[in-house]
Symmetry: C2
Subunit: 169 residues, 2 copies
DNA sequence: CAATAAGTTCATTATGTAATGAACTTTATG
DNA sequence: CATAAAGTTCATTACATAATGAACTTATTG
């Protein structure tokens, strides 16, 4: 993208659908706790039409510093949201979104359920009066989280079975 | 809490279990997107042994400014996480955690599922080659979100039935 | 082995969000 | 109706987190 285009596009406030998409993915992931740049990287990788996306590609497309790209790539690698692959005879690193870990989504949910469940369990030990509003409140919420904790593995299994059916019809 | 206690407790790094609890609830909610102060208010309200908690109680317990308490109370009210109640002959406002909206938890989840689903739907329109890694990736994730979107209402119903049984045994 | 490419590290700067506190509005009371 | 209590608003300050960019490491190639 050259300077002329850049000036025009920002003046007229136009973006290609792809550029818009990248920014929106960035914002969505930011909303759910990742750095915006990490989200933008995911947006670029997800909407990429070329097979191989390098560090350099990302830097140019997202117009960000090496440091930021490097840091956020490694964050995404640690969270298994992307993976690195190499091409023989080429010293660059290439990245793509991870295909396998769909259950990551549910697993993250299960984790957060466990965290809240613990907080409610602790809370209940601090409320002395068993007839109080709070005691009843905390007990019920706790029940709900226990329910969710039981149900999540069932949901996971249900998904796995559905996949199996589709693969061997 | 007097100054002497404050100096001691911070110097020795001791906190009552309740104080520790309030801070931990604050951190947990901060992690999931609420301002820390809003989380601390929830922590205080949840672990309160007294029936009525006023604005003033909160301000004293959390050692925060009126402005911060006010802003965060109203945030929590808007999100239906707490509710206000009045006492006749008393011009103060009192607050408590909301008992009813357990399904808020699931509903928030359903909303976030819808947001991600939309992002994947948009992404798929940007990837031209139907045999590419990304096309397959986005299609599968999209399937998964559709599955979750279908399952959530079922889960909700299951919970409601479980509650009904417990109420009329 | 010098030169360069690829990526990392980290001190500095920038940005966004939250808390503060003083001034203000609203409501009640003697 | 003056006074005070209860809470809100908002400009300012503080804080936490992210991005930058230059110096650095590591690997590669002519």
């Amino acid at each position: 993208m050259n300077l002329l285009y850049f000036c025009f596009s920002s003046y007229l406030n136009t973006m290609t659908p792809k550029e818009k998409y990248i920014e929106d993915v960035g914002l969505l992931y930011e909303k759910y706790g990742l750095p915006k740049m990490a989200g933008r990287i995911l947006g670029y990788l997800m909407s990429a039409s070329t097979k191989n996306t390098s560090f350099e590609n990302l830097q140019e497309a997202l117009k960000a510093s090496k440091g930021s790209i490097s840091g956020n790539i490694n964050l995404l690698l640690r969270q298994s949201l992307i993976e690195k692959h190499m091409i023989s005879g080429d010293r660059k690193s290439y990245y793509k979104v991870v295909f396998t870990s769909l259950n990551n989504i549910l697993e993250a949910k299960v984790k957060s359920i466990a965290e809240f469940k613990q907080i409610y369990e602790r809370g209940i030990t601090l409320v002395v009066d068993e007839h109080s509003h709070n005691y009843k409140y905390l007990s019920e919420v706790l029940e709900y989280y226990k329910f969710l904790e039981e149900e999540m593995p069932l949901l996971k299994r249900k998904w796995e079975e559905k996949i199996k059916k589709n693969e061997t019809p």
